[in-house]
Symmetry: C2
Subunit: 412 residues, 2 copies
């Protein structure tokens, strides 16, 4: 077996044993792309070896989606592929372990009319709503991990030859996902245990607010009563521990939707619908964005924020040390999972129900009244850097250092 | 555009315009395999250009099936992937145009316990029963066509280098499917019109029986009253003309299940569950196989014939001139569609309802009483050659030449 094959197998084992934590006689559903079928075969084999009763794979093809968005009439974009929705929603309802493999092409829809892309996306999200809701509640074990493709690799490593850029991207993924550690599973277990410990400590603190400060940022985010810090491992309704994201470096909770005050400047580019916004400054009053100043594509950002009422409020605040393995590579990945785990960030749009005590059981108005935010968008904006300080503000108004110059200051 | 790309596009156009005959605002469902995604993209684009409202593609992967058959317990092989069945059955029920792309690997399951393979196959066929039944009635437009893969090409051209064997197989497919004619669509329309004319003439004859004779064969097949010769084009319930098979060279009908008498020797190998049976002789009495003599793998043949009651009777007799474009290549394709269209053949097992007047509306016992055969198998055995003579026996017992030395003798 080649070294590359061995690393692929270890990555597949991680996805099955840590990401999904497949249980004996459980069904496994894989949403695959054609990026790297060899990896899908290895995940499938690993899942059967872990005792899966049935591994079913739904392959999606960017090229087919692209043809649809290019050729279908506006009305026909609303047609739902019923079996496609049934595959996801049925797996979620049955409690399968669901592996979502991504192989992004950041420029797939470049040059397509935005309304066509938006209509396609809306139809898709609408059809998958039951699964997405169940996923938001962690009803089942699920995990997201990535495989390279030529288009993505070319975007990340534009100066490399096509063949070697794919290899470089695999190398980056293997390194960031700890595949190259001597015992990757043990390394992941240690890593997510550390994240869990930090979450427990932060949740126990119940800060009234976080204060972010650097030369370009002065932002105070109120945190609602009963907020929960999450990160690393999740627990399904049946009590199975799994790792929803590979990689994952963040711990995160929800800010109070009406308690953001001040301004913040992004430190890494944001990719929205294929447009890269280099940096921008957001000003908040009573939780709402009242001013946007972008270096480019200001209209794209303004359109995003105008998507719905919740799009101008925050749904997540995440802390990531500046020295993390993704940031150390000093690389833009043009992918939310890789880029958001590179730096502390805030997310415009929806909050996760599980980041608020009893949030899963609340009605939407109750969730909002408690400080949670609802929106159809959830867009991460990176604000962390090695110059960022973060203070925790206690209930009595006193403060303590949470991060200093981008690194953890709070001992756990 | 390269010459190869242009030929791929012409093949895709044939599949959409002639094979499926896609209608404006119709949905198109494609069952694809890993073989040649580029061809699937071209079919998808051609289908949108023909006015399809939605093209939905279900990709299957031999490697995933193989892992399942290798690893799943016997009981777990009965688990049905519900959305997979829903995809096919739903498309059939809605009346989509259904393209079944095949990219066979003749040795996929070599070395796997036959019970595992059989259980897997049974579960699959059971789950797809509604679609298969509707297909048998031509409720919707459907077409089968093939794309090469490395394993299949290696088997067909064992003496060629791997890369060139795939090219050789494409060349063979393009040539056999008339893709290289100056106007492939017109060539197909002429071809299937000729087949249709022959079918009409043969159906009008209403022969009481066909008599096959050569040095190794002396077989009389009774034909039931109201038998219908089919071939080339089919007509869906909505009246849309389509070509179910690409390639297609045969005209066929059903023999009476209880009226085969004599013996017949195959002229081309039969591939059953990955085993190649070079030649064999079957002896019939009152329609039933009473004796089997095979050059090899006699037990595989005996197992096949013992599958169920109908497996020892015939369900199809097809006439193909010995000079047809597939036979002229003097090549075994290890695939039913390509090999059956190379020579006149008989099929053990199920008869097609549409080859008997009012057959579609009959109950199973009525269909059998009228001379039709029911079985879970349908296995073609090639019996034609340039030495074969075929006579038609009229109701009054007089005879006329239908084929002489493998070529049509009957003028139409």
């Amino acid at each position: 077996m080649s070294d590359f094959d061995a690393r692929l197998d270890r990555y597949a084992e991680l996805a099955v044993r840590v990401g999904l934590n497949v249980q004996p006689q459980q069904r496994v559903f894989i949403r695959a792309t054609r990026g790297e079928p060899e990896f899908v075969y290895r995940v499938t084999r690993a899942a059967y070896r872990a005792g899966a009763s049935l591994v079913h794979v739904l392959w999606e093809e960017d090229a087919i989606e692209l043809l649809r968005v290019q050729h279908a009439s506006r009305e026909n974009l609303d047609l739902v592929v019923d079996w496609f929705a049934h595959a996801f929603n049925g797996a979620a309802e049955r409690g399968d372990a669901i592996l979502l493999l991504h192989s992004p092409d950041p420029e797939l829809f470049a040059g397509i009319a935005p309304e066509q892309v938006a209509a396609h996306r809306r139809a898709r999200l609408g059809a998958l709503r039951p699964m997405l809701d169940a996923q938001g509640r962690n009803d089942f074990q699920w995990s997201v991990c990535h495989v390279p493709n030529a288009a993505w690799a070319r975007r990340v490593f534009p100066d490399s030859a096509p063949a070697s850029s794919v290899t470089e991207l695999w190398d980056a993924i293997f390194s960031i996902c700890r595949v190259d550690e001597s015992d990757p599973i043990a390394a992941w277990q240690t890593h997510i245990a550390q994240l869990a410990k930090r979450c427990q400590a932060l949740t126990a603190k119940q800060y009234r607010a976080l204060h972010f400060s650097s030369a370009q940022t002065d932002l105070t985010l109120g945190l609602p009563r009963g907020h929960i810090w999450a990160g690393g491992a999740s627990t399904s309704r049946k009590g199975i521990v799994f790792a929803a994201n590979m990689p994952t470096e963040e711990v995160f909770t929800l800010p109070h939707r009406e308690q953001a005050e001040g301004y913040v400047t992004t430190t890494r580019p944001l990719s929205v619908s294929g447009v890269l916004i280099q940096n921008f400054t957001l000003t908040f009053e009573n939780g709402r964005i009242t001013r946007v100043r972008a270096s480019n594509a200001q209209n794209v950002l303004e359109t995003l924020i105008a998507t719905d009422k919740g799009a101008a409020h925050l749904g997540e605040v995440a802390l990531v040390p500046a020295s993390n393995p993704i940031a150390r590579r000093n690389q833009i990945f043009y992918d939310a999972l890789y880029d958001e785990n590179a730096a502390s960030h805030i997310a415009l749009g929806a909050a996760y129900r599980f980041t608020l005590e009893d949030g899963a059981a609340m009605t939407a108005p109750d969730f909002c009244a408690a400080g949670g935010n609802e929106s159809t968008i959830h867009e991460d904006a990176m604000i962390g850097s090695s110059e960022m300080n973060v203070d925790g503000v206690r209930a009595d108004g006193t403060r303590e250092a949470v991060m200093r110059e981008g690194e953890w200051a709070l001992e756990v």
